[in-house]
């Protein structure tokens, strides 16, 4: 059995017919070819698969694609502006070296984006609490917390195009 499923991802509409057991993360990666969203633990622990569903951070390994039918999804590919300028959170991770291997980074970026939308000037404690659903095995979290703080302190970011070095 397949089920007609359509959703808007980063402003583009995708309409596919999928097996209802297809996970949202697989729909995003395999049906839509947006491979920025990572599958980590696949058990809703690690948060690498975090995307925004109607603006709320969710773990896309624990949402069926059909549950997102007719909803809006934002993935890491949707963070930068059309001219390639990084979002403040992306720029913060660059400025403060918020990643090493980069595997958790898409999820961290999405969780941090959701956090700053709700609490524009979070305390360090609030940042740590709101990223509790995202695991990083490289950084020890210090640089990630500083990256989010940088984004909170620089809500306009720094407009550097992807591919250019500064």
């Amino acid at each position: 059995m397949s089920y007609p499923t359509s959703m808007t991802i980063n402003g583009t509409n995708y309409a596919k017919s999928v097996d209802p057991r297809t996970l949202l993360v697989h729909f995003i990666r395999e049906e839509c070819g947006l491979t920025g969203t990572h599958v980590g633990c696949d058990t809703s622990n690690c948060g690498a698969c975090t995307v925004l569903l109607d603006g709320d951070a969710v773990k896309s390994c624990t949402v069926l694609a059909v549950q997102a039918n007719n909803h809006k999804v934002t993935t890491v590919e949707g963070l930068a502006s059309e001219d390639g300028a990084f979002s403040p959170v992306q720029e913060g991770f660059r400025q403060e070296h918020g990643l090493q291997c980069g595997y958790c980074t898409p999820g961290m970026l999405m969780a941090a984006t959701a956090l700053l939308k709700e609490i524009p000037k979070p305390t360090e404690e609030e940042i740590r609490q709101n990223l509790e659903g995202n695991l990083c095995r490289c950084t020890g979290y210090e640089m990630i917390v500083r990256s989010v703080q940088w984004a909170a302190d620089n809500p306009d970011g720094v407009p550097v195009a992807i591919g250019e070095s500064s």
Partner: protein, 270 residues
């Protein structure tokens, strides 16, 4: 890791969900936020043939002040419970407990009704529902019925909700006392509690325990001590009394008994 094959039936209303349940019986499972059911399905611990998705039944998502009680729609998400001003004022224990469920992403999807119907003794919200002396409204083919939270959890992962029924509303008496608290002990922030407790004082005190039996349970002897005005130390000393906590990889029975006493004391003193 994906679930076994199933037929997907989205329901737009409570009535449509009930008619789908009537049609498919015990082959069907209700899907709300999916944060209890989908992990079970991915592990193939649950293999329903039909999934009835009630996630978009919007009129079962609300928090309303009804005078003596607060009414919460079963599809209200943990995040809404956590952030509700009505609950923070009138049932602070529940709002606070919701803020400790999983992590922000989980709280954005998981629903109070889904968590309660999962009936997991390791979940946080059932303990708060027991402590606040809530009543639960269950809708079925012949109308609505209510059960007390004491009667709701019947066995491990089993509740009073029958296969042709749907939990629709949770009714919680307003709390006017001062003393309340939720504590849990776990290894990492998002882990299940090894032991947890939800405590509320007042004239009819309640102490709900997490992971201290095969169902969510009340610590009745500790409640009696609290009602009669015993010290927090004396109340906490009875936190495991009459309960049979499990032994598993995270802790044995005696460790859980120890944790129960420590946590109830913290909940009463903080």
């Amino acid at each position: 890791m994906i679930p076994a094959k199933f037929d997907y039936k989205p329901a737009e209303s409570k009535e449509e969900a009930l008619s789908l349940l009537a049609e498919y019986g015990d082959d069907a499972k209700l899907l709300a936020g999916g944060h209890s059911l989908l992990p079970l399905m991915k592990l193939r611990l649950a293999t329903p043939e039909v999934v009835v998705d009630i996630g978009s039944v919007d009129d079962l998502s609300y928090i309303t002040d009804k005078g003596d009680v607060i009414a919460i729609g079963a599809l209200t998400k943990h995040r809404q419970v956590e952030q509700s001003d009505i609950l923070k004022e009138h049932v602070p224990l529940l709002a606070h407990t919701a803020s400790h469920v999983g992590d922000p992403q989980v709280r954005n999807r998981g629903t109070i009704g889904g968590s309660l119907c999962h009936g997991d003794p390791a979940s946080d919200l059932p303990a708060a529902i027991l402590a606040t002396r809530a009543t639960l409204v269950i809708s079925g083919p012949s109308g609505d019925r209510t059960v007390t939270s004491d009667d709701f959890f019947t066995d491990f992962w089993e509740t009073e909700v029958n296969e042709d029924e749907l939990l629709t509303e949770i009714l919680i008496p307003k709390y006017t006392g001062e003393k309340w608290g939720f504590e849990k002990f776990n290894r990492r922030a998002q882990d299940w509690a090894i032991v947890g407790c939800a405590v509320q004082g007042g004239d009819n005190p309640g102490i709900g325990m997490v992971n201290m039996g095969s169902t969510p349970v009340r610590a009745a002897e500790a409640e009696n001590a609290l009602r009669s005005g015993s010290s927090s130390e004396e109340v906490a000393g009875l936190a495991d009394s009459g309960l049979t906590p499990p032994t598993d990889i995270h802790g044995n029975e005696s460790y859980r008994r120890h944790l129960a006493k420590i946590l109830v004391q913290r909940a009463l003193d903080n």
